[in-house]
C-alpha cells in the first residue's frame, strides 16, 4: 500500500524480456514465483527498487541485484511480500467500522442520509472493495444510508487496475468461497473480476496526499482509511498530509491508520478514539474540542 507516495515518479523502461530474466532470478534465489500475469505487480516493485537504489536502468539495477550489493535481495523480497495487499487485510479495522464507528456516525444522521468513506491510497482497489463487501456482509443498516465509497491513489495505473477489478487468487485468499462465488466472476485461470455492481459502487479518483489543491476536491468524509503510507513521508510532508486529511474529514469523523502508525506523533489536530477492535483517530466536533 505504498502507492500514494508524494515523490517523483520514475519512468524506467522494463521490457518483457527483462521481466522474464528477473522472474527467473527471483525464483532461483527466493522460490517466489511470479508470471507475466502479475506484470503490473512486478513492474511496480521493480520500479520502486530501481528508484530506491538510484539505478539508472533496469540493467544497472539487475547487476546490482545479482551482486547482492547492500543486501538488495532482501530489500527486494520485502518489497514483493510486505506490500502485497489483499482483500480483508487488517480485518480488525473493518470490524471496528461496523461494530463501532458507523453506528456513532449514523447516530448523527437522519435515515437515508449520506455516509462518505474514503480509502486513500487505494492502490489497485482491494481496500475500497473490501469496505463495500464488508459493509454488505456485516452492517445491518447498510441499506438505510446512502453510502458513498471513494478510492484514491496518486498512481493512475493503479487506479485503472482498480476500476477494472481483476484479481489473482492471492488477493482473494482471505475471502470465503461463498463470497468469491457471489461477488466475483471467473475470467481466466486464477483470475477473478469483481461484480459490476460493486465496481459501479466505488468512485476512483487521483490524489496526492500532500497536494492541498488535490485534497480540497475530497471533502466531507465521515471515515478515512489511510494505511501504511504516512510512514513513507518525511516529517514535513507527513504533517502536511495529516493537515490535509483533517480538512477532508467532517467534524467528528474518524481516520484509521496502519497498525505501526500513530497520528499522535504526527499532528496534535486529532484525538485518539479507542474502540474494542481498534484504536483510531477523530477530528473533534469543534476545532477546539
Amino acid at each position: 500500500m505504498d502507492d500514494a507516495k508524494g515523490g517523483a515518479s520514475y519512468a524506467v523502461h522494463i521490457s518483457p524480456e527483462d521481466v522474464q530474466r528477473f522472474c527467473e532470478f527471483l525464483y532461483r534465489r527466493t522460490g517466489l514465483s511470479f508470471t507475466e500475469g502479475k506484470r503490473y505487480f512486478i513492474d511496480r516493485r521493480l520500479e520502486d527498487r530501481i528508484a530506491a537504489t538510484g539505478s539508472s536502468s533496469f540493467q544497472a539495477y539487475f547487476s546490482l541485484l545479482r551482486a547482492d550489493a547492500d543486501h538488495e535481495i532482501e530489500h527486494l523480497i520485502n518489497s514483493f511480500t510486505v506490500n502485497e495487499t489483499y482483500f480483508y487485510r487488517e480485518e480488525h479495522q473493518l470490524r471496528c467500522m461496523t461494530s463501532s464507528l458507523l453506528d456513532v456516525i449514523a447516530s448523527h444522521k437522519e435515515p437515508g442520509g449520506t455516509v462518505r468513506i474514503w480509502s486513500v491510497p487505494c492502490s489497485t482497489g482491494e481496500e475500497p472493495y473490501s469496505i463495500a463487501l464488508w459493509l454488505m456482509e456485516n452492517w445491518p443498516q447498510v441499506d438505510s444510508y446512502n453510502i458513498e465509497i471513494v478510492g484514491s491513489d496518486i498512481d493512475t495505473r493503479a487506479l485503472k487496475a482498480a476500476a477494472e477489478g481483476i484479481y489473482g487468487d492471492r488477493a482473494l485468499m482471505r475471502l470465503s468461497p461463498d463470497l468469491i462465488d457471489r461477488y466475483f466472476r471467473f475470467v481466466a485461470e486464477g483470475r477473478h473480476q469483481i461484480d459490476d455492481g460493486l465496481r459501479n459502487s466505488i468512485e476512483f479518483t487521483r490524489v496526492n496526499l500532500i497536494d492541498s489543491r488535490d485534497m480540497a476536491l475530497h471533502r466531507d468524509f465521515d471515515l478515512i482509511f489511510c494505511r501504511n503510507v504516512l510512514i513513507y513521508f518525511d516529517d514535513a510532508s507527513r504533517r502536511q498530509a495529516a493537515e490535509n486529511l483533517y480538512g477532508c474529514l467532517r467534524p467528528g469523523g474518524y481516520i484509521c491508520l496502519g497498525h505501526s502508525e500513530s497520528m499522535s506523533r504526527i499532528s496534535p489536530l486529532f484525538r485518539v478514539a479507542r474502540f474494542p477492535d481498534a484504536i483510531v483517530y477523530q477530528r473533534p466536533e469543534t476545532d477546539h474540542g
Binding site: P111, P140, V142, D143, N146, G197
Partner: protein
C-alpha cells in the same frame, strides 16, 4: 424457490444507491430470483413497459422520479403492468408514509433496514414462490 422446471421469478430492484441495489440483488439471486435493476422511477417505468416482471421493489427517495410518482404512473397505466405487484422499501417509518404508499398503489411496505433473509421471505410471498 428455483425448483427444476419452474420459471424463475423476475424482480426489478429500483434504488438510486448502487450498493443498496447490490445488497438486495445478492440476497435475491442467491434465493434463485432473476434480478434486474433501475436507478430511478423513470428508468423503472421504461423497464416495466418493455419487459416482463413478477415484482417491482422500489425505494421512495430517488432523483428525477421518486417511488410514489412511479407507483402512481404504474397504476394508471392502460396496460397489464398496472396490476404488477410492488414492494415499497423506505427509510420513512411514519404512519402517513405507509398510508401514502398504500394510496399510491404499493402492495407491501417495508421500513429500512431490511435484512437479506427478511427481503427474500417477503419477495417469495409476493411472487408466489413461497412453498
Amino acid at each position: 424457490m428455483a425448483d427444476i422446471g419452474m420459471p424463475k421469478a423476475r424482480v426489478l430492484v429500483v434504488d438510486d444507491s448502487s450498493l443498496v441495489r447490490l445488497y438486495y440483488r445478492s440476497a435475491l439471486e442467491q434465493a434463485g430470483f432473476v434480478v434486474e435493476q433501475a436507478i430511478n422511477g423513470i428508468e423503472a417505468m421504461e423497464r416495466v413497459l418493455s419487459e416482463s416482471f413478477d415484482l417491482v421493489i422500489v425505494d421512495v427517495n430517488m432523483p428525477r422520479m421518486d417511488g410514489f410518482t412511479f407507483l402512481r404512473s404504474l397504476r394508471s397505466s392502460a396496460t397489464d403492468v398496472a396490476m404488477l405487484p410492488t414492494l415499497m422499501i423506505s427509510t420513512e417509518a411514519g404512519l402517513e408514509d405507509v398510508a401514502e404508499a398504500r394510496r399510491a398503489g404499493a402492495n407491501f411496505y417495508l421500513v429500512k433496514p431490511v435484512a437479506q433473509t427478511e427481503l427474500v421471505r417477503h419477495v417469495s410471498v409476493l411472487t408466489g414462490a413461497a412453498m
